[in-house]
Amino acid sequence: MFWNYLKMAYKVLLRRKFFTFISLFGIGFTLLTMLVFFTLADHVVDPPGPSSRADGQIILNMPYIWLEHMENNDVYHGELGYYFIEHYLYEMKTPSGISAYTGTRDSACFVNDRKVRVQLRQTDAAYWRLLEFDFLEGGPLTESDDEGDSRALIISQYLKRKVFGNEPAVGKELVLDGRAYRIRGVVKNVPFYDDISYADAWQPIDNLESANYRNQMLGRFKVLFMVENANQAAAFQEELAHLWSKVQIPDPEQFNFVIGHAETPLESMARDLLRDGNTDDNGKSTLVMIVVALGVLFMFLPAINLININVSRIMERAVEIGVRKAFGASSTHLVGQLIFENIFLTLVGGLLALLATPLVLEPINQSGLIPHADLTMNPRVFLGGLLLIFLFGALSGIYPAWKMSRLHPVSALKGGDS
């Protein structure tokens, strides 16, 4: 019977090629846009690469802290100082790893008198244990780089190509902002949306001539925590919550309370976009709700298009439906058939979209709009896409099918409106 339905659906599609094209284009285009958007969102929320751990461990990020004066409402928001990290965060018992690192800053080197922009990040040795970089050459920074004036440098494949071409780079010298470094390792490019790993070059934090940075409460550091599983994450958050009241602030006249949040990239983003400050709720669920609502709206529009077209097409098939009804086909049967046809059509459009998605992602990756973007469709997005396709097919098929099932055989045979 399905074979029959399939044949019928195929014939109907061929009957008025223009409308079939419009339907297919609408479906394909919608799903394509959704898939590309999903891939992007998926990569931003959980970038495959250094910061995604395969073994179920969780990386939490504390990019900022808030210093407050509880009585006069002064608030200072900024990155963490090493003093605070060393004396309070390193003392924590629950996390299985803690790392201090900085955001990226614009630096430059010269290759044959041409300036090459370099995004430079400073990290400690723990950073390379917590995050899983792919080394193409050499190795990571080690504990000995944390002590003293180490001039080691890790560079990305991109920077290596620019500066050294195809030659091996490890052990060679690179001058950044007038200061010479020795290259310790080369890693695979990290995309821009991987906020905690992205850079072109990584240097030890102790690159400064003295240890003055170790005395600051506020500074330019961010902190990563690694926990083994969700239970440990809860224990960690508990310990963190109790930490703040113990912190001694050097200048209690100005600020007398400090707080920060260790969060996943999605939570950090939600706080950044939706929350103005250090509220307990990071706004993650609100952000997810807004994105889902926009997604549904986005799908709903083309679905209405499809409904419009389907409704008119049913009228064209009034005679056929009338005959089938007259010969005893039940309404349920006819509804099933129409939804089937619609899902078939959606499936064709959806498959086209799935095939076209890599063709759209590739130019985005190549364009350089997002530095070092490496957007690929993963199984999660693919399955999500399939689900979307069926949802879309059912959504846009139900109303026309219901309308058709109410068609009276006699008026249908006359080919008129019901």
Partner: protein, 391 residues
């Protein structure tokens, strides 16, 4: 004629309701897009209030001790003697980063939150911040029983309303001292071109020998065209005068560039999504209308047979869609007007609302018209004979 059109629309109410639903939803999406785009543009086109070019920021890395104030003063004086340096002043807060410092000012018991910064007496000259009323703080404020405060225009308006802000005294929230407003500047948008417009204030940093007031950074304005190699000489001067510190020197223009890059990526992505959505809506309207015309061959043929002109048919087809668009836009506008009341998306300013509604309305009307042109042209070509042969 309009009444007749309404009757025709009513006769096909089910399918037309769907079309109107689609147009209304598209209108709402478009409204959101136009408002965000206008808002981004408004922020971008509002002057930063300072000049970031040829300026270096020198961040001090180390722990502040009171006697460092004197060292800092001498470091700044030594820097000013360099021929390439036109200004060297102190300003506490970083530019083009996410850090901020906020405080609350109370006037007649009404609290206003604003961002604050602390800067030295000539900083407005260095950063080229125009003082629009009153004056920047200076030596004449030393020894007074108040701390001078310079507000931006927005902060002055929010705190004092229509009253003149100059000379007004505001108590510090812990009652330790009083602020006195000495000047108004246009703006100082510390976070960058694409960040919200907010209230801002400058407190005075006094060059002293001993001070508990920690200063984080020196700003240096260079003569245009100075090469970056000057940083080496600067570091020498800094190191001699401030032996307990390390320094991180960066160009403001570079910091701004990376800030812009980071902020533009999400904006461009959402704009591309919106364009895709519009394209889909256009395709859908075109398809539905086309089908409409095909279905109504008989009706249109009949009209032609009893003497309707081709223009009349064209007006009918386009007019129907435009009438429906007008209704949908009206519903959409009504819904859009509810947005400020929900407060879900913060306060949308009146000019943005107006811009969003007019923008979305005109795009929808143009879109509807364009989508109806081809089907209407098809309808025009229907002759009475076609209609009679139909089926």
């Amino acid at each position: 004629m309009i009444r007749q059109m309404l009757v025709l629309i009513w006769n096909r109410k089910r399918i037309n309701a769907l079309i109107m639903l689609e147009i209304t939803l598209s209108f709402l999406v478009l409204f959101a897009v136009v408002v965000s785009a206008l808002y981004a543009w408004k922020k971008y086109s509002t002057p930063l209030g300072f000049d970031y070019r040829d300026t270096l920021s020198v961040v001090l890395i180390g722990q502040w001790e009171p006697h460092h104030a004197g060292q800092l003063k001498r470091a700044a004086e030594a820097m000013r003697t360099m021929p390439e340096v036109s200004w060297c002043e102190a300003s506490h807060m970083d530019l083009f980063t996410k850090s901020y410092w906020t405080t609350v000012l109370r006037h007649n018991d009404k609290p206003t939150q604003l961002m604050v910064n602390r800067a030295s007496d000539q900083y407005h000259q260095l950063a080229r911040i125009p003082v629009i009323d009153g004056r920047w703080f200076g030596p004449q404020d030393t020894g007074g029983d108040y701390e001078p405060l310079v507000l931006n225009r927005r902060a002055a308006q929010k705190v004092f309303g229509s009253e003149s802000p100059l000379g007004k005294v505001l108590p510090h929230s812990l009652g330790k001292f009083n602020y006195k407003v000495v000047g108004i500047i246009e703006d100082y948008r510390q976070h960058g071109d694409l960040d919200p417009l907010g209230e801002y204030g400058f407190r005075r940093y006094v060059w002293e020998e001993n001070s508990d007031t920690r200063m984080r950074q020196l700003m240096v304005r260079l003569k245009p065209g100075t090469p970056r190699s000057i940083e080496r000489d600067m570091l020498k001067i800094l190191k001699t005068n401030l032996p307990d510190y390390d320094f991180s020197i960066s160009e403001l223009s570079v910091a701004r560039e990376s800030y812009m890059r980071k902020s533009l990526i999400p904006l461009i992505t959402s704009a591309m999504l919106a364009v895709c959505l519009l394209l889909m809506v256009a395709m859908g309207l075109l398809g539905v209308l086309w089908q409409n015309v095909a279905q109504r061959t008989q009706e249109i043929g009949l009209r032609r047979a009893i003497g309707a002109s081709t223009t009349g048919v064209l007006v009918q087809i386009s007019g129907e869609l435009l009438t429906m668009t007008a209704f949908s836009v009206a519903i959409g506008t009504f819904l859009a007007l509810q947005v400020p009341f929900t407060g879900l998306f913060g306060n949308i300013e009146a000019d943005l609302m107006v811009g969003g509604i007019t923008g979305a309305t005109s795009v929808m009307l143009v879109l509807a018209f364009v989508c109806s042109v081809y089907p209407a042209w098809l309808a025009m070509r229907i002759t009475p004979a076609d209609a009679l042969h139909y089926e």
